[in-house]
């Protein structure tokens, strides 16, 4: 591997890793509060892609109008899904709520196929994300620089929100102990809705940044990124926001460097992600930054 390849791979891995990180945070936040693997999160991400296409290609809105609209729509979608599919199951066995998540994921995929057909739709170009740049022999688009910056800004903002504000405190309380938080007068449903809204907004930002350099959206385009980001969340320690962020970067880096260093193994890159995950779980069962859980007798 020469130096150009190395730097090129660095840029790629940071760019893709930060998009993963944004999606992974959605998983981790929901898991932290509801102990639910939100299988539908990848599909929310996919829907955000379609929303952008509609806003920009069909309604011809300029990007500065379209993006806030897409974020709002996606947040609404996340909250509605929570209200319809998860809220009625608060007291049900944990498996049921997870099945409900799988059901929602099925529904979103099938519904998207029905509405938009299985033909991939092209993601609209957003000017400021596509400026070609050159740095020595390394070539890139502005999106590769913007993505990590946006991610870092959002993560810092989110951390402030969680640690410094009242709603953030409510979120932490709910994550620590759901029932006690409820008894202490925290309006748990509002906190959960808020969590879903935030997670979905981040997924929408992730979608815009992810699809911009990979401009094909189709009903299953959320599946693999969704799964990878879930892996990222587990890797970093599910429930921990900085953990999800680190997990996203690790997955991005592993994926890119495996291919760059061992081209013959490129077909195995998905498998390698999972090998890494299993190894990590064996060494540190709760992920990098996860809290240790103890059994209650």
């Amino acid at each position: 591997m020469d130096l150009t390849t190395f730097f090129q791979s660095c840029v790629t891995s940071v760019s893709i890793g930060s998009a993963y990180a944004l999606i992974a945070i959605g998983y981790t936040m929901v898991y932290g509060i509801l102990r639910l693997i939100n299988f539908a999160h990848g599909d929310i991400f996919m829907m955000a892609g379609y929303f952008t296409i509609f806003a920009m290609s069909n309604f011809m809105l300029p990007w500065y109008v379209a993006i806030p609209l897409v974020l709002a729509m996606t947040a609404l979608l996340g909250v509605v899904i929570e209200r319809i599919a998860y809220k009625p199951l608060r007291s049900a066995p944990r498996m049921s709520i997870m099945i409900s998540a799988i059901g929602v994921s099925f529904f979103l995929e099938n519904f998207a196929t029905y509405l938009f057909t299985g033909l991939p739709k092209s993601f609209p170009g957003i000017g400021f994300l596509q400026i070609p740049m050159e740095w020595g022999s390394v070539k890139l688009q502005s999106v590769s620089i913007i993505t990590p910056i946006v991610t870092i800004v959002l993560v810092v903002a989110l951390m402030t929100l969680v640690n410094k504000t009242k709603i953030g405190m409510a979120m932490r309380a709910a994550a620590k102990d759901f029932e006690t938080a409820q008894l202490m007068g925290i309006k748990i449903n509002r906190v959960i809705s808020f969590t879903f809204a935030v997670g979905s907004v981040l997924a929408a930002v992730g979608a815009i940044l992810y699809f911009s350099p990979r401009p094909m959206v189709y009903p299953y385009s959320g599946m693999m990124p969704g799964l990878k980001c879930f892996v990222a969340a587990v890797l970093g320690g599910i429930g921990s926001i900085p953990g999800a962020c680190i997990g996203g970067f690790i997955i991005g880096a592993v994926e890119t460097f495996l291919v760059a260093m061992f081209p013959t193994l490129s077909g195995y890159s998905d498998a390698f992600t999972f090998v890494l995950l299993i190894l990590m779980l064996l060494v540190r069962p709760t992920g990098l930054l996860g809290e240790k859980m103890t059994d209650k007798v």
Partner: protein, 375 residues
Amino acid sequence: MKLSKKTNVGLTVALVAVAAVVITLLDLKIIGSTYVTNIIKLSAIYALVGVSMNLVNGFTGLFSLGQAGFMAIGAYVVAMLTTDPAGRAGIYYVVPINPVLEQIQIPFPVALILGGLVAAGLAYLIGAPILRLKSDYLAIATLGFSEIIRVVLSNNELAPFTNGSLGLKNVPSFSSMWKDLGLPGNGLWLCLGIVALCIAIVVLLINSSYGRAFKAIRENEVAAEAMGINLAHHKQMSFAIGAFFAAIGGGLLAAHLTAIDPNQFKIALTYELLLIVVLGGLGSITGTVLGAFVYTAGKEWLRWCDNPLTIGGVEIPIFRSGLRMVIFSILLMVIVLFYNRGLMGTSEFSWNGIYGTLRRWIGKVTGKIRKEAKQ
């Protein structure tokens, strides 16, 4: 009030007899069609894999999502070893077949069991480290493991055996195997017989001391350990047995479809199976079987939604391709939301249960009538 033992046995025998007659008639194509028998076969195979998943998830309380990977192993062993050696060169047309494998052909039941043993062995090996993980972590690790199996199968390194991404075809079908035995019919009995046998073994296992230990682990690991149950051993056993039957299901699937490829065994398959298990009721064998039939048949039944529908000469615009799956997923959601313990809950099918429900209903109806009469 309960039904007497005699009535119970009688009813069960009657049910089995009716089922046997119906199956024979279906198999001889006196009633129904290939379409119906195909749905039944697929449902039965899903039922078996669902039961294997239920054994691990519902009875032992291990949240495992690796079923698709184990099915793949079973399917591949059967597909590699039972096809006619004469046609193999044509199947491995990109990477030539391994010369040793080319000569080997073993009977279907042997291949089925071999596939099961390979999967069980693998499950036992990986079980030792990963079963230490708890709940969701175990789920994601097993899910990852199943993906690893699929990726390895689809890559070219093993292609002389697995034919890589191209998949394998010409697996002998149930009907051809059945006819080779010189029996009348189309092999529905073969498929259902193997499934029934396997499910019966699982039921026996669940009611044995092993099964009780599994349930104890599900209820409370710490307490179970305190009672002297070897946690690691029992978890590994349950995991390996689950893998064994999943692989048998995979092998049956290969024979049912006569062609397989690695893409069939994606995570989506595991999700579908999990839906079947939870739909039927986690921890209920009869529930899983019921769930498998409802799931598979329900999906087929909705097929009319995909074709344009005209009522009274007016074409209803929403009926077009894709609607079937939308309605199907909505129905699933409704069941999950309103029936969050599944169709059967954790209870098993029993005549007493049916009798009790009927009595309650009749009681309610008569009670109402009586009330109205009084007024």
